[in-house]
Every structure is written in C-alpha cells, then in structure tokens.
C-alpha cells in the first residue's frame, strides 16, 4: 500500500515526533513573530503621533494589547499541543495511527502560527492608523477600534481550528 507513490517513501521514514515538534515550535514562534511585528508597527506610529497629541497615549495602548493577545493565543495552543504528545513503544512509532497523530499536530501548529502571524500584522497596521486618526480627531478612536476588533477575530479562527484538529491526534495505545 503506497509503494507506487514516491512522496510516501520519504514521508513514512520521518518520525511523527519530528512533525509534532516542528508543529509546536511553529505554533508559538510564528505567533510571537506576528505579535511583535504588529506591536512595532503600532508602537512607532503611536509614539510619533503622541508628540503633538499626548492625550492619545493611554487610550491607544489597547491596540498594543490586541497584538499581545495574538502571542498569548500561540502560547496557549502550544501548551495544549504538547500535552497531546504521548510516548509509544518503539515498534509502534511508524504505525499508521501514530503517523496520523504526528501529521495532525504538525498541521494544527502551522494553522495557529500563520493565522496569528497575519492577524498580528493586520491589527498592527490598523492600530497605527487608529493612533494617527485619533490624534487628528478624537471621535474617530472608537470607530476605528471596531475595525480592529474584526481584525483580531482572525487569530481566534486559527485557535479554534487548531484545537479542533489537535483532537484528532490520537496515538496508538501501548497494549499491543
């Protein structure tokens, strides 16, 4: 089964723990990258705009908090994924069921990482324009904040799908 396909030859030899570890690392690493990217986009605009309009500083820290939440989503999912790792006996490492569990954790990590990356970027860009328009006209702050809330929902989508997919990561039992 699967001898005719050449991708399978390579994939079957890679341990599922490799895939799981890469998935967990991507989940937290790329999420934090997205959060940091968003924070520096927002922060630099905020500090620059606050020179002429110092009143905006305390309100616009909310944008920074929205970006930070993206990193926290990554941490939570990475912790959940690493509790899904189980040790199986050596004869079972390349069994089809454990291969599937490894792939599930890998895909779950990729989903969470990259969804949080784009969410952090999006919230950062909108946060920077929120700070700049708030400096001009303080009635605009709440209206642009609504757009930012739409942006931060994208990170939540990634977390939801990541957790649903990690429920598929069932390793073979140690019985046999």
């Amino acid at each position: 089964m699967g001898d005719q396909a050449t991708w399978s030859h390579a994939l079957v030899k890679i341990s599922p723990y490799t895939f799981s570890a890469i998935g967990i690392a991507v989940a937290i690493g790329v999420s934090v990258l997205g959060a940091a990217w968003g924070i520096y986009i927002t922060g630099s605009s905020l500090i620059g705009a606050a020179i002429k309009a110092p009143r905006i500083t305390s309100k616009n820290l909310i944008s920074v908090i929205f970006c930070e939440a993206v990193a926290i989503y990554g941490v939570i999912v990475a912790i959940i994924l690493q509790t899904k790792l189980q040790s199986v006996p050596t004869s079972q490492i390349y069994a089809p069921e454990s291969l599937r569990a490894g792939y599930a954790i890998f895909a779950s990590g990729i989903i969470v990482g990259f969804a949080n990356l784009v969410c952090g970027l999006c919230v950062g860009i909108i946060g920077s324009s929120c700070a700049l328009s708030d400096a001009q006209n303080s009635s605009l702050f709440v209206k642009i904040l609504v757009i930012e809330i739409f942006g931060s929902a994208l990170g939540l989508f990634g977390v939801i799908v990541g957790i649903i997919m990690s429920a598929q990561a069932s390793w073979p039992s140690k019985a046999v």
């Binding site: 089964m1 699967g2 396909a5 991708w7 399978s8 994939l11 079957v12 069994a95 089809p96 069921e97 291969l99 599937r100 792939y103 599930a104 890998f106 895909a107 779950s108 990729i110 989903i111 990259f114 969804a115 784009v118 969410c119 970027l121 999006c122 860009i125 909108i126 324009s129 929120c130 700049l132 328009s133 001009q136 006209n137 009635s139 605009l140 209206k143 642009i144 609504v146 757009i147 930012e148 739409f150 942006g151 929902a153 994208l154 989508f157 990634g158 939801i160 799908v161 649903i164 997919m165 598929q168 073979p172 046999v176």
Partner: protein, 209 residues
C-alpha cells in the same frame, strides 16, 4: 490496531495540510482586506467623520472570508477519519486540492476587497450615489469569489471513490450543480465587470492639497 485503520499511511499528511491551507490563506486574504480598507477608512475619517460607520462594509466583507476558510478547514479535518472510513491517497489529495482552492481563492478575494475598499472609501463616498456602487461592487467580488471558494472546495471534498469493482464507480456530488454553478458565475462576473466600469467612471479624484 492496523485492522481498524485502512487506507494509505501518508494520506492524512495531505489531508491535514489541505485544511491548514484553507484556513491560513483565507486568513491572509481577510487580514489584507481588513488592514488595507481600515487604513483607507481612517484616512477618510479625518476629513469626513460622519462617513466612517458607512465605510465599514469592506471590512465586514473581508472578515466573512475568514469564516469561509474556518468552515472548510473544519469540514476537511473532521473528514479525515481512517478508522471509520478508509482514507486513501486519493482522498488525501482531494482534501489538499479542496483546501488550496478555498484558501487561495480567499486570498485573492481578500486582496481584491482590500484594494477596492481602500480606493472606494477614499474616493467613492464623496458623491452619495457611489455608496450604493461601493457596496454592490464589494458584495459582487465577495459573493463571486466566496461562492467559487466554498462550492469548489465542497465539491472536491465530497468526491468518493469506491474501490470495489475495478475502480469503475466514482461518485461526484452533483454534475448538474457544476453546470449551474459555472453558468451562474459567468453571469455574475459579467455583472461585476460592468458595475466596476460604472464605478470607475464615478470616482472623483481628490483635490490636491
């Protein structure tokens, strides 16, 4: 152990990657649309604060793309169950193509909504009539591409292959649906091009400051 698990061993890799592609690329499109339109709204809102709440339309349309990606990703990942139903490489590749179709269509739709929304809220809301055209245009882009996204990926998901008698039986979910879908989207694309031309005529260049 292996008697309860039928199908190819590495097929779940492609299946899960399909679900990942569906969500990740749709989220990229939604993020681009939200960010680009949001910057346009903020820039326009400095001059005309009363029009800001009306210009949230492209942002909402871009957010919907993320939801499409979420739905397809969940459908795909719950369809990978080698214990209940045998999961061959065919099913893995079908799920991969379904997820890529959904995701990349969402990415392109999001980029389109971003660029159109940015230009539309900056220039198009000055004459009152253009608000209607803005909404129509964004809704057209979104429905056309969103429809293609969801329908194509569902069609690809639902392909089943029965390996009983010499690989003869392939069941595709609705060949009639495919024909109707292609006609419908052809008409929608024609309307879309027509209205975008009308909209372009109606755009007002901002006065140089």
């Amino acid at each position: 152990m292996s008697s309860t698990f039928s199908g190819d061993e590495t097929a779940p890799f492609f299946g899960f990657l399909g679900a990942a592609a569906a969500l990740v690329f749709s989220c990229m499109g939604a993020a681009y649309g939200t960010a680009k339109s949001g910057v346009g709204v903020a820039s326009m809102g400095v001059m005309r604060p009363e029009l800001v709440m009306k210009s949230i339309v492209p942002v909402v349309m871009a957010g919907v793309l993320g939801i499409y990606g979420l739905i397809i990703a969940v459908i795909i990942s719950t369809g990978i169950n080698p214990k209940a139903k045998s999961y061959y490489l065919f099913d893995g590749y079908a799920h991969l193509s379904s997820g890529l179709a959904c995701g990349l269509a969402g990415l392109s739709a999001g980029m389109a909504i971003g660029i159109v929304g940015d230009a539309g809220v900056r220039y198009g809301l000055l004459p009152v009539l253009s608000l209607f055209l803005l909404i129509w245009l964004v809704a057209m882009v979104d429905t056309v591409i969103g429809l293609l996204q969801v329908k194509c990926s569902l069609l690809l998901c639902c392909k089943e292959i029965h390996l009983h008698s010499n690989l003869k039986v392939i069941k595709i979910a609705g060949p009639l649906q495919q024909r109707l879908l292609s006609q419908f989207t052809k008409h929608l694309l024609e309307f879309n091009i027509f209205f975008s031309y009308c909209f372009r005529m109606n755009c007002v260049e901002p006065e140089p400051q």
